[in-house]
């Protein structure tokens, strides 16, 4: 019995200290962000002086060339439509893949699955040229369209897998009663899918918010830059102002971290379902 107790205690100590080690860098980032630079210049773990201040956050929020106030607003203006549009488009198509029979369905589906692995670099040059021709370069509509198209494969895949787990009998009896496919989908199927839709929305929103590469090639006017694009701009060439940068980093990551904190269940379900099956 004593040996078992000892091993339990040891495992708990080990597990907790691993968690502690993992959180130390984030704690350091936080400590650097709320203190004047002079205090942390030889490491944020020096607490001989400790005068918490919001000054770094104010500086990041109102930065003269890369203000995060505008950056976060811009990121929201992209991320909200770039979440809603692909979820609508991809879930309705996912339903088609789950329930309808049509030729070349399997080939189409495998192609879509393979598209999930594509590197963004593979569409970069043509997308740039296409957007230039459509007059959508450096405009949010262009980036929203690209994000929507880019998100379709995994949302379609995820929703299709979810639809196939639903009992088909309800849909069949509605069909016997004369309801059209669209009515069945909107009135019967979608209401049963709210949890899956929330999972898909959480993941898609976080990916669009976190995206850097597509924004980098499509958006370049200084006032239009997104939050993730402004972070590298705050890094000076010769001198790195860690007070400013840590505050900015915390502001940019706050949105996904808060969403994760409140909707963790949906996030994990979405990720596990999207990665497996």
């Amino acid at each position: 019995m004593g040996r078992k107790l000892l091993s339990t205690v040891l495992i708990h100590l080990l597990a907790w200290s691993v968690g502690l080690v993992w959180i130390v860098p984030l704690f350091g980032l936080f400590m650097t962000s709320i203190r004047p630079y002079g205090e942390v210049i030889y490491g944020w773990w020096n607490f001989s002086e400790f005068n918490p201040t919001f000054e770094n956050f104010v500086r990041a929020w109102t930065h003269p060339t890369a203000a995060l106030s505008a950056g976060m607003r811009n990121s929201l203006a992209i991320a909200i439509p770039a979440t809603v549009v692909p979820i609508l488009v991809a879930s309705i198509a996912g339903y088609g893949f789950a329930r309808f029979k049509f030729p070349i369905k399997n080939y189409l589906f495998i192609t879509i699955v393979i598209l999930m692995a594509l590197p963004q670099q593979m569409i970069a040059v043509p997308i740039f040229r296409l957007m230039k021709e459509l007059g959508l370069l450096d405009r949010y509509l262009g980036l929203i369209i690209v994000h929507s198209a880019w998100g379709i494969p995994w949302i379609l895949f995820f929703m299709r897998n979810y639809f196939t787990t639903l009992p088909i009998e309800i849909e069949e009896s509605a069909k016997v009663d004369g309801a059209s496919d669209l009515v069945i989908f909107l009135r019967i199927v979608l209401p049963m899918c709210i949890p899956a839709l929330v999972s898909a929305a959480v993941l898609q929103f976080m990916w669009v918010w976190s995206d850097f590469f597509l924004a980098l090639i499509l958006i370049y006017s200084p006032d239009k830059l997104l939050a993730t694009q402004r972070l590298p701009l705050m890094k000076g060439v010769y001198f790195v102002d860690w007070g400013l940068l840590s505050a900015a980093a915390i502001l940019v990551m706050a949105v996904p971290v808060l969403i994760f904190a409140f909707l963790q269940r949906y996030y994990i379900k979405g990720m596990v379902g999207w990665a497996m099956k």
Binding site: G43, I110, L118, V272
Partner: protein, 301 residues
């Protein structure tokens, strides 16, 4: 009216209304994903003068120092973007997969395990551009915990990412911190699906915990291991944001990677042909990883 037509007409109408479900998604994909992919492959087969020379860009790119640098083997970093990506896979893949599995097993029976899991998983939640910035911060001479910690063992602190011989390694080891949460969460989900009876039966038979782990847990987690390994390799091949913000591939290309080099070719040197060759090559690598996974998982079902 022809009786056969009256029978077929509703069927046709249904077909038509059903295809409306698929058309918006397929049209978006065709225009903004598939057409660009084909276009990129086409570009990679052509020279700036417009001539068709299918392998010229690939031969050119693969013989360039920024992609493969043979002198690196005797002189140290840079080894070239391609080899840096391979190094990433070589070091990062076993570390994150193994660590994630161990943590999933340990944290299952620990009080507060879910809090620890959330803390570890945060690395997956934060934007990679922030992640790269934090890595730079962690390995900085003055503000970094890693140099400070190593200082306790008498290793003089330095900013790891400023020196060619340590920049890439710092990024790779640092990204273990960011990515371990992925395999941990998937393995945790997988462990939950293994029936308790298996363990009870094994314990009644007197199997040791180590034996149980290797004979029951590990084989039953095989599908998850396949997914974790595949997704992790994909992530390592496509890595971009972290390197861009932390080192910009430097110093002197010592931490360069393929995705970043593609960006340099196509958008800094304005050479879309060379850039497309790198992108297509990168895509081939990802297909090499993904297609076997789809095969195995389909067979398993």
């Amino acid at each position: 009216m022809n009786p056969r037509l009256t029978k077929r007409l509703p069927r046709l109408k249904e077909r038509l209304s059903q295809s409306l479900f698929l058309i918006p998604a397929l049209a978006l994909l065709a225009t903004f994903v598939i057409y660009p992919v084909v276009y990129t492959v086409w570009l990679s087969f052509h020279s700036p003068s417009g001539g068709f020379s299918p392998l010229a860009n690939y031969a050119d790119v693969l013989s360039r120092r920024e992609i493969i640098n043979p002198r690196g083997f005797s002189q140290g970093f840079p080894l070239g973007a391609l080899l840096h990506n391979f190094l990433w896979v070589l070091i990062h893949l076993p570390l994150t997969t193994f660590l994630g599995l161990v943590l999933a097993v340990i944290l299952r029976n620990v009080k507060g395990g879910s809090v620890v899991k959330s803390a570890i998983f945060l690395g997956m939640v934060i934007p990679m551009i922030v992640g790269g910035l934090i890595l730079r911060f962690m390995f900085d001479k003055y503000t970094g915990v890693v140099p400070a910690f190593l200082g306790l063992f008498g290793i003089p602190p330095k900013s790891w990412m400023v020196y060619p011989d340590t920049a890439l390694l710092a990024l790779i080891f640092g990204s273990v911190w960011l990515w371990t949460g992925f395999s941990m969460v998937l393995y945790s989900a997988g462990l939950g699906t293994i029936p308790r009876d298996y363990y009870e039966a094994a314990m009644i038979d007197g199997a040791s915990p180590v034996r149980i782990f290797f004979s029951i847990t590990l084989p039953l987690l095989r599908p998850i291991t396949i997914v974790v390994v595949t997704m992790t390799i994909l992530w390592e091949l496509k890595i971009f944001d972290i390197v861009y913000v932390a080192t910009m591939g430097g110093p002197g290309g010592a931490s360069n990677v393929l995705a970043l080099q593609m960006y340099f070719y196509a958008f800094r040197q304005l050479d879309p042909y060379r850039g497309s060759a790198v992108a297509t090559f990168l895509m081939l690598l990802t297909l090499l990883v993904v297609i076997p996974m789809i095969r195995t998982l389909r067979e398993a079902r």
